[in-house]
Protein backbone atom coordinates (compact mmCIF):
# COMPACT_ATOMS: atom_id res chain seq x y z
CA UNK A 1 0.00 0.00 0.00
CA UNK A 2 1.09 3.58 -0.62
CA UNK A 3 0.43 6.31 1.94
CA UNK A 4 -1.03 9.55 0.59
CA UNK A 5 -1.63 12.83 2.38
CA UNK A 6 -4.66 14.73 1.06
CA UNK A 7 -4.77 18.50 1.64
CA UNK A 8 -8.02 20.39 2.17
CA UNK A 9 -9.20 23.97 1.65
CA UNK A 10 -12.41 25.89 2.27
CA UNK A 11 -15.55 23.68 2.38
CA UNK A 12 -13.38 20.52 2.20
CA UNK A 13 -11.48 21.61 5.30
CA UNK A 14 -14.77 22.12 7.16
CA UNK A 15 -15.94 18.62 6.22
CA UNK A 16 -12.67 16.94 7.19
CA UNK A 17 -12.10 19.18 10.21
CA UNK A 18 -8.38 19.41 9.45
CA UNK A 19 -5.96 20.85 6.88
CA UNK A 20 -5.08 17.31 5.72
CA UNK A 21 -5.76 13.63 6.24
CA UNK A 22 -3.93 10.44 5.40
CA UNK A 23 -5.15 7.47 3.43
CA UNK A 24 -3.49 4.48 1.78
CA UNK A 25 -4.25 3.02 -1.62
CA UNK A 26 -2.87 0.05 -3.55
CA UNK A 27 -0.02 0.77 -6.01
CA UNK A 28 -1.56 1.67 -9.39
CA UNK A 29 -4.58 3.36 -7.79
CA UNK A 30 -5.98 6.25 -9.83
CA UNK A 31 -7.48 9.64 -9.09
CA UNK A 32 -10.86 7.98 -9.56
CA UNK A 33 -10.02 5.46 -6.83
CA UNK A 34 -8.98 8.29 -4.53
CA UNK A 35 -12.28 10.02 -5.19
CA UNK A 36 -14.21 6.91 -4.12
CA UNK A 37 -12.05 6.62 -0.99
CA UNK A 38 -12.73 10.27 -0.08
CA UNK A 39 -16.50 9.75 -0.39
CA UNK A 40 -16.26 6.57 1.68
CA UNK A 41 -14.22 8.23 4.45
CA UNK A 42 -16.24 11.49 4.45
CA UNK A 43 -19.74 10.92 3.01
CA UNK A 44 -20.47 14.68 3.48
CA UNK A 45 -18.45 15.29 0.28
CA UNK A 46 -21.48 13.85 -1.52
CA UNK A 47 -23.43 16.91 -0.40
CA UNK A 48 -21.14 19.37 -2.23
CA UNK A 49 -22.20 20.53 -5.71
CA UNK A 50 -19.06 18.77 -6.91
CA UNK A 51 -15.35 18.55 -6.16
CA UNK A 52 -12.19 18.07 -8.20
CA UNK A 53 -8.85 16.59 -7.27
CA UNK A 54 -5.60 18.40 -7.95
CA UNK A 55 -2.40 16.43 -8.36
CA UNK A 56 0.87 18.35 -8.15
CA UNK A 57 -0.84 21.73 -8.52
CA UNK A 58 -2.94 20.92 -11.61
CA UNK A 59 -6.43 19.52 -12.13
CA UNK A 60 -6.08 15.72 -12.38
CA UNK A 61 -7.93 13.45 -14.82
CA UNK A 62 -9.82 10.43 -13.33
CA UNK A 63 -7.51 7.90 -15.00
CA UNK A 64 -4.22 9.39 -13.75
CA UNK A 65 -2.23 6.95 -11.62
CA UNK A 66 -1.15 8.23 -8.19
CA UNK A 67 2.55 8.13 -7.36
CA UNK A 68 4.15 8.22 -3.93
CA UNK A 69 4.92 11.82 -2.97
CA UNK A 70 2.19 13.38 -5.16
CA UNK A 71 0.72 16.58 -3.74
CA UNK A 72 -2.99 15.73 -3.63
CA UNK A 73 -5.64 18.33 -2.89
CA UNK A 74 -9.44 18.28 -2.79
CA UNK A 75 -10.79 21.24 -4.80
CA UNK A 76 -14.37 22.17 -3.88
CA UNK A 77 -16.22 24.39 -6.40
CA UNK A 78 -14.11 27.55 -6.70
CA UNK A 79 -15.51 31.02 -6.01
CA UNK A 80 -12.71 33.53 -6.46
CA UNK A 81 -13.05 36.95 -8.06
Amino acid sequence: MINHTILTFAAAREIVGAASFKTDLAPGATVSDLRARILEAYPAFGELSDFAIARNEAYALPEEVLVEGDELVIIPPVSGG
Binding site: S49, E57, V78, S79, G81
Partner: protein, 138 residues
Amino acid sequence: MIDVQISDQPLSIDTCYNTVQDPSCGGICLFVGTIRNHNQGEDVSRLEFDSYDGMALKEMRKIGEEVLELYDLKSVVLHHRKGALDIGDVAVIIAVSSVHRKAAFAGCEWVIDRLKERVPIWKKEFRGDGSFWINARP
Protein backbone atom coordinates in the same frame (compact mmCIF):
# COMPACT_ATOMS: atom_id res chain seq x y z
CA MET B 1 4.13 40.39 -20.12
CA ILE B 2 2.22 38.45 -17.46
CA ASP B 3 2.11 39.34 -13.77
CA VAL B 4 0.06 37.28 -11.27
CA GLN B 5 -0.11 37.78 -7.52
CA ILE B 6 -2.10 36.58 -4.51
CA SER B 7 -1.77 38.91 -1.55
CA ASP B 8 -3.06 39.32 1.99
CA GLN B 9 -2.50 43.08 1.65
CA PRO B 10 -4.78 45.63 -0.10
CA LEU B 11 -4.49 45.56 -3.90
CA SER B 12 -3.52 48.68 -5.87
CA ILE B 13 -5.23 49.71 -9.10
CA ASP B 14 -2.35 52.10 -9.84
CA THR B 15 0.19 49.28 -9.57
CA CYS B 16 -1.80 47.12 -11.99
CA TYR B 17 -2.26 50.03 -14.40
CA ASN B 18 1.42 50.96 -14.32
CA THR B 19 2.45 47.35 -14.93
CA VAL B 20 0.44 46.99 -18.17
CA GLN B 21 0.92 50.56 -19.42
CA ASP B 22 3.06 50.64 -22.57
CA PRO B 23 3.84 53.40 -25.08
CA SER B 24 2.75 51.12 -27.95
CA CYS B 25 -0.70 50.55 -26.42
CA GLY B 26 -3.66 52.91 -26.73
CA GLY B 27 -6.19 50.95 -24.71
CA ILE B 28 -6.13 49.56 -21.19
CA CYS B 29 -9.10 47.76 -19.70
CA LEU B 30 -9.32 47.08 -15.97
CA PHE B 31 -11.81 45.03 -14.04
CA VAL B 32 -12.05 45.58 -10.30
CA GLY B 33 -14.09 43.08 -8.30
CA THR B 34 -15.18 44.37 -4.91
CA ILE B 35 -17.06 42.95 -1.94
CA ARG B 36 -20.80 43.61 -2.30
CA ASN B 37 -23.03 44.20 0.70
CA HIS B 38 -25.59 41.67 -0.53
CA ASN B 39 -25.85 38.31 -2.32
CA GLN B 40 -28.76 36.02 -3.13
CA GLY B 41 -31.12 38.40 -1.32
CA GLU B 42 -29.12 38.39 1.94
CA ASP B 43 -27.04 41.16 3.55
CA VAL B 44 -23.34 40.35 3.55
CA SER B 45 -21.28 41.74 6.45
CA ARG B 46 -17.80 40.48 5.58
CA LEU B 47 -15.94 37.84 3.65
CA GLU B 48 -12.96 35.50 3.77
CA PHE B 49 -10.92 34.11 0.90
CA ASP B 50 -9.08 30.83 1.20
CA SER B 51 -6.51 30.08 -1.48
CA TYR B 52 -4.43 27.12 -2.59
CA ASP B 53 -1.65 29.54 -3.45
CA GLY B 54 0.74 27.31 -5.38
CA MET B 55 -1.86 25.97 -7.81
CA ALA B 56 -3.83 29.23 -7.92
CA LEU B 57 -0.75 31.13 -9.11
CA LYS B 58 -0.07 28.44 -11.73
CA GLU B 59 -3.66 28.57 -13.01
CA MET B 60 -3.57 32.37 -13.07
CA ARG B 61 -0.37 32.28 -15.11
CA LYS B 62 -1.89 29.74 -17.52
CA ILE B 63 -4.90 32.03 -17.98
CA GLY B 64 -2.48 34.86 -18.70
CA GLU B 65 -0.63 32.79 -21.29
CA GLU B 66 -3.88 31.71 -22.94
CA VAL B 67 -5.33 35.19 -23.15
CA LEU B 68 -2.15 36.50 -24.79
CA GLU B 69 -2.53 33.75 -27.41
CA LEU B 70 -6.24 34.31 -27.97
CA TYR B 71 -6.38 38.11 -28.05
CA ASP B 72 -4.12 40.79 -29.45
CA LEU B 73 -2.82 42.00 -26.08
CA LYS B 74 0.52 43.33 -24.88
CA SER B 75 0.32 42.61 -21.15
CA VAL B 76 -1.97 41.12 -18.55
CA VAL B 77 -2.03 41.49 -14.77
CA LEU B 78 -4.12 39.40 -12.33
CA HIS B 79 -3.95 40.29 -8.64
CA HIS B 80 -6.18 38.51 -6.12
CA ARG B 81 -6.65 39.15 -2.39
CA LYS B 82 -6.84 36.46 0.26
CA GLY B 83 -7.76 36.53 3.95
CA ALA B 84 -10.46 38.66 5.61
CA LEU B 85 -12.16 41.43 3.61
CA ASP B 86 -14.82 44.02 4.40
CA ILE B 87 -17.60 45.44 2.21
CA GLY B 88 -16.13 47.62 -0.56
CA ASP B 89 -12.66 46.05 -0.34
CA VAL B 90 -11.05 45.04 -3.61
CA ALA B 91 -10.99 41.25 -4.10
CA VAL B 92 -9.48 41.09 -7.57
CA ILE B 93 -7.98 43.35 -10.23
CA ILE B 94 -7.44 42.38 -13.87
CA ALA B 95 -5.63 44.79 -16.18
CA VAL B 96 -4.82 44.25 -19.86
CA SER B 97 -3.24 46.52 -22.43
CA SER B 98 -3.66 46.42 -26.19
CA VAL B 99 -3.07 48.49 -29.28
CA HIS B 100 -6.83 48.40 -29.85
CA ARG B 101 -9.62 48.75 -27.35
CA LYS B 102 -11.87 45.94 -28.60
CA ALA B 103 -9.22 43.34 -27.78
CA ALA B 104 -8.64 44.97 -24.38
CA PHE B 105 -12.31 44.64 -23.37
CA ALA B 106 -12.69 41.10 -24.73
CA GLY B 107 -9.43 39.89 -23.20
CA CYS B 108 -10.10 41.40 -19.78
CA GLU B 109 -13.57 39.83 -19.61
CA TRP B 110 -12.19 36.47 -20.75
CA VAL B 111 -9.63 36.53 -17.91
CA ILE B 112 -12.12 37.22 -15.11
CA ASP B 113 -14.53 34.59 -16.53
CA ARG B 114 -11.77 31.93 -16.55
CA LEU B 115 -10.51 32.97 -13.11
CA LYS B 116 -13.97 32.40 -11.66
CA GLU B 117 -14.17 28.99 -13.36
CA ARG B 118 -10.93 27.36 -12.39
CA VAL B 119 -8.56 29.24 -10.06
CA PRO B 120 -8.58 27.45 -6.67
CA ILE B 121 -9.64 30.38 -4.50
CA TRP B 122 -12.75 30.19 -2.31
CA LYS B 123 -15.01 32.87 -0.91
CA LYS B 124 -16.82 32.49 2.41
CA GLU B 125 -19.61 34.97 2.96
CA PHE B 126 -20.77 36.00 6.43
CA ARG B 127 -24.43 36.99 6.08
CA GLY B 128 -27.64 37.38 8.02
CA ASP B 129 -28.55 33.72 7.46
CA GLY B 130 -25.15 32.23 8.36
CA SER B 131 -21.73 31.78 6.76
CA PHE B 132 -21.29 29.94 3.47
CA TRP B 133 -18.56 28.85 1.10
CA ILE B 134 -19.99 30.22 -2.15
CA ASN B 135 -20.79 27.63 -4.89
CA ALA B 136 -20.01 24.74 -2.53
CA ARG B 137 -23.59 23.54 -2.07
CA PRO B 138 -26.15 22.76 -4.78
